[in-house]
Subunit: 158 residues, 3 copies
Amino acid sequence: MSKKMNLLMFSGEYDKALAALLLANTAKELDVDVTMFFAFWGLFLIRDPEKATSEDKSIYESMFGMVTPKGPEELPLSRMNMAGLGKQMLLEMMEEDKTPSLTDFLNGARKKGVKFYACKLSVDVMGFKEDELLPEVEIITAKEYLVDALASDMQLFI
Amino acid sequence: MSKKMNLLMFSGEYDKALAALLLANTAKELDVDVTMFFAFWGLFLIRDPEKATSEDKSIYESMFGMVTPKGPEELPLSRMNMAGLGKQMLLEMMEEDKTPSLTDFLNGARKKGVKFYACKLSVDVMGFKEDELLPEVEIITAKEYLVDALASDMQLFI
Amino acid sequence: MSKKMNLLMFSGEYDKALAALLLANTAKELDVDVTMFFAFWGLFLIRDPEKATSEDKSIYESMFGMVTPKGPEELPLSRMNMAGLGKQMLLEMMEEDKTPSLTDFLNGARKKGVKFYACKLSVDVMGFKEDELLPEVEIITAKEYLVDALASDMQLFI
């Protein structure tokens, strides 16, 4: 029987997202089933950069949607972000080594069939609409996440 | 045989605590056994807001107890806290959606029988007294935590 | 059959490293196999403080090596670091309780046979040379990490 990995994507930071997506892509190459469950700040990673809207949102939700990162490339680093300077440095170092970008890793995971779920409570509180997220994303409850996670061989909170 | 989830609560941040307690409450509804082990900053979440004391503490321990959050509602966000502004915005958005507060989730977990453990080493270093913590909390060693975690179906470091 | 614990060390912060190494040491006392896989900022913990070099590095890599922590004692706290003030306070409180230092815990783990792996991609991107890391450290790929993690009884992302 094939193995199963479940990642709870909470933090929404560039470097942690990079690590998680590298693991997700690598796991698929090993024929491991992969679920990524995006909650809270993690939702920023799966926003479709082209589709932000303020329609049908409260004032707080609209403001929140505008001041937060729209998609992978806008995520900050978890450390040494230094108003973007540290992130720029990391990106240059990645380019020197011909490392794929976060968007490349994200698209790789989408193509390889990693399952993308968004946390219903987080989506509701932050006021995101299903249309604002990548088309692969399905919205599920914490209960559905737990059933999947408990049936997995490893779970990480990232 | 029923499943078992073990959460190591390290960070002591409002949003992460909310996520963890939502999982803990949901897991109990699924008849999953839940252990929460509070270490380091995680201890702030299980301080009894009414019972802070400076008695029988060193100067460092007293200062530390005074400048750190006393109970769930004083915890900061892990991101975008902006001296409390971002947190206030999140709280307003939660209220718009009638989401329960962190204290509600915490009391829910206590009523549902989630097991609360505090890390002995952290309690000693930070100088907390058993009386300053919620009455449900039992103080255990890292060894006791590990035995419980290794016998669980999933473990998260939050 | 003996149990197995796998820790993914991502964050490179003093307090989280302390928690992880306390768990690693305690697990070995319980005869549990322990793997620590150091990625991204986590690599700072296993730099040999005596062996930083700029030889054979790009300008970005040299700069990066110089401005980042060299070994365990230079790591910042994940919270309340306050330019080192909060960390100094924690160190004083640890000394009052005669708690071993981070370096003690690290050396304990090395002596007890905890396996130390560094993430190849991270080492390449950050430009670290094998000689700059502790002699116990072996460089492996994300695939090798996953095979080990999936065969473990518990995995944490720290």
